[in-house]
C-alpha cells in the first residue's frame, strides 16, 4: 500500500465519519426541537385581529327578525359585528340597547349585527328580547359549539369582521356607544 493510497483512504474515512456524525446530530436535533415545540406551543387556538373568522351556521330565534338561520359565510361582502352574550351577563345587558340603537342605521350601510346567545332556555331569551325590543338576529348556540370554535372566555366578547371575512378587532368585555359606533364604522364595506 503506497503512502498516497493510505492518505486517500484516510480522507475517505474522515469524510464518511463527518457525514455519519452530521446525520446523527441532525436527527437528534430534529427530535429535540420537536419535543420542545410540541410541549411549549399553546394548544388553544384563539382567533385574533388579522385572522379570518371561522364559518358557522346557527338557528335564529328572535321572532322580531325574519331569518330562520344564518351562516356566516353567506354574509361575505358585508361588515359583520359578531357578539357573544347571555341573559345572565350584566355588561351584555348594558350594551344591548346601544347595539339596537345603531342596528338599523348600519344595516343600511352594509354592516350586519349578529348576536350569538349562550343561554340554554329559550324562554329567558324571549323575555329578554321583548324587554329590550331587539330586532337584530339572535342565534342560539345551545351546545356551545360556536363558543368553543371561537374560544370565547369572557362574555360579552365581540368580533368586528370586515367584508372580506377578516377579523379587524376583537373586544372582550362591554362596549360604550361611542366605541361601538367607531368599530362599526371601521368595518363598513368600501
Amino acid at each position: 500500500m503506497g503512502l498516497d493510497q493510505i492518505r486517500e483512504n484516510k480522507k475517505k474515512k474522515k469524510k464518511k465519519r463527518l457525514i455519519f456524525r452530521s446525520i446523527v446530530l441532525i436527527l437528534l436535533l430534529v427530535a429535540v426541537a420537536y419535543a420542545l415545540l410540541t410541549n411549549l406551543s399553546d394548544k388553544k387556538t384563539t382567533y385574533e385581529a388579522g385572522d379570518s373568522a371561522p364559518d358557522f351556521k346557527l338557528e335564529q330565534i328572535n321572532s322580531a327578525n325574519n331569518q330562520s338561520s344564518i351562516q356566516l359565510s353567506d354574509l361575505k361582502g358585508k361588515g359583520v359585528m359578531l357578539n357573544f352574550w347571555a341573559t345572565y351577563c350584566k355588561p351584555c345587558e348594558k350594551e344591548m340597547p346601544y347595539m339596537q340603537k345603531l342596528y338599523p342605521k348600519y344595516k343600511d350601510k352594509g354592516v350586519e349585527i349578529i348576536t350569538v346567545n349562550l343561554d340554554s332556555n329559550k324562554l329567558v331569551v324571549d323575555r329578554f328580547i321583548n324587554k329590550f325590543n331587539l330586532t337584530f338576529p339572535v342565534l342560539a348556540d345551545r351546545q356551545d359549539q360556536v363558543r368553543e370554535l371561537y374560544n370565547i372566555v369572557p362574555i360579552p366578547s365581540t368580533f368586528f369582521i370586515d367584508s372580506k371575512g377578516k377579523i379587524v378587532k376583537k373586544v372582550e368585555g362591554g362596549l360604550t356607544l361611542d366605541k361601538l359606533a367607531g368599530y362599526l364604522q371601521d368595518i363598513e364595506p368600501k
Binding site: I6, R7, K10, R17, L18, R21, S22, V24, L25, L28, A31, V32, Y34, A35, L36, T38, N39, L40, P54, D55, F56, K57, L58, Q71, S73, A86, T87, Y88, K90, L118, D119, S120, N121, L123, V124, D126, R127, L139, D141, Q143, Q145, V146, L149
Partner: protein, 547 residues
Amino acid sequence: MNNIKCECGHVNPEGTVLCEACGKPIEKNQHIDGNDKKKLLNMRYDGSARRSQTYNKSIIDKIWSFFSSVKVGVWLIVIALVASAIGTIYPQEAYIPSDAPDRDPAVFYEDAYGLPGKIFYQLGFHNLYSSWWYLLIISLIGVSLVICSLDRFVPLHRALKMQKPKRHETFINRQRFYSETENVTDEERETIKQNLKKQRYRVSEQDGHILAEKGRFSRWGPYVNHIGLIIILIAALLRTTPWFYLDEYMWVREGEQKVVPGTNGEYYIKNNNFIMELYDKNDKRFQAALKKKGEDVPSNFQTNATIYKKSGDTVAGAPPKLEKVKDVSIRLNHPAKFGGYTVYQSGYQQNEFKSMTFNLHEKNDPKKVAGTFKVDFGNVKSSYDLGNGYKVNVENYYPEYYLDEEDKIPRSKSKYARFPAFVFSVTAPDRKKPEMSFVGIGKNIDATGKNKYKLGVEKYEPLYASGLPVKRDYTLPIFAIGAIIFMIGVIQGMYWQHRRIWLHPKKDSTLLLAGHTNKNWHGLRRDIEKAISNTSVKIVEDQQELE
C-alpha cells in the same frame, strides 16, 4: 497521518491506548487511561480509541466530542435530578389546592410559603416539568446517551473482534492476574488448553499463544440497556403528541349530548342517566361496618351513555350528522372503549335540578289542590295548563337566582338550574285577574298579598353531571418494549462476565499466564485453577493486591 503502527505490524487508529491486535501499550497515549501512573493496564474499552478523545476539527466533531463525554452526561443527569427534586418542594401549578384563598400562582406561592415560595415561582419551578429548559436538559441527556453509546460501542466492538491470541509481553505482565512459570512443556500447555475447552471457553491459538475467551456478549449489556433507554425516551417524546397520548376531562349533564374532547369532533357522547347506588343498610353483611361509618357508603357510580360517531362534515353550529356506535354503562374500573379512546367514570356533581313539580292549592288550605305541573329545566315552557280553567304562566325564570344589590331586581348568575326561581301568574276560573307570585327555594312571595292560590313545590329531581376522563395512550407498548430491552441489557451485563485467559510461551519455555474479567475475579481464578490442575503452571497472583 495520525495512524499508529505497532511493532506487531497492526495499524491502529489515532488515540489507541493498547494495540488492537497485540495489546502492546502505545507509548504516547498512556496518559489517556492513566496507564502511565500505574503498573496495571486500564482495560476499559480494551484500550481502544474512543473517537471523541482523538481529534476535534470541524464544528460537528466538536459538538460530537462534547456529547460523547461521560462527564458531560453525568452532569446533565445531576442537573436534571437536582431540578426535579426542587420541583417537588412545593406543589406544581396544576396541583395548587382548590380551596386556596387565591389560586393565581403569582399570589399563591408567596402567600402560602413566603419568600422561598416567591423565589420558587419566579424561577419558574411552579411549572417545572413542562418548562423549556427542563425539557431541554432531558433531551440533551438523550443526545448524550446516543452519542456516548455510539462512540464507545463501535471501537470496543472493533477491538474485541480484532484481538489476536499472540499478545505483547507488556500487555500480559501488566494484567491483574498474572503468573510466570519456568520450564513448561508443550504437553502441559495442551492440557491447559483442553481443560479450558471443557469449561466452555472459546480457544484460539497462534504460534503456541493461546487466548481463551468466555461470555464476550456480556460486554454488550450496557449498550443494549442504552437502546432500551433511548426507546423509552422516544416513547416519552411521542407522548407529547395528541395522536399517541390524549388525556382530557369532560363534564356531561344527564340528557346532555357533547362532543368528546380530543377526538376532533369525531365522537359524541350522550349522558342518558347517572346512577349512584349505596350499600344496603339492611344487608346483614354490611350492617356492622355501615353503622360504624355512620353514613351512606356508595357501592356503585355509573353513567349510562350512548356513543355517536359523526358521519359527515357539517359547518360548526349546525346539528351534526351522527351514527350511533353503541350504548355503554361506564362504571368504576369498567371504562367505555371506542375508536381507540377510553372513557372512565371518575366524578359526579349534583348541584343542579332536573325538574320541579309544583302544586297549586288554596292559600289557606294546602289540601285543596287545584292541579299540579312539572317544570323540566331543560325546556321551561311559557305556560302550563292545569285543566278545569286553571293555568300557570311563567312570566320569568331565573336559573340561579340572586337579588342584585345595586338595582334591587332579581337576576340569574348563570344558565344552570342550581337555585331556580320563578315569577308565575296564575289564572283561575274564580279569579278575575291573574294572581302574581314569586316562587323559589325557600321563597314564596305573594305579590299583592291578596292571592287566593299558592304554588308549592311538591317534589324535585336532582340533575347529575358525570365527570369523565377521556384517554388514549398508544405509547404504553413502546414503553414496555423499551423497558424489556433495558432489562435484557441489565441481565446480560450483570449475570455474565467476559473472562479472558492468555497463555504466552516464551522462547526459553517460560509460560506467562494472564487473566482478565470485567467482574467476579474470584470466578476467573477458579476457572484458572481448574485449567492448570495437574500441571506445573503456577496459579496467578492478583497484582492489584500486591500493589
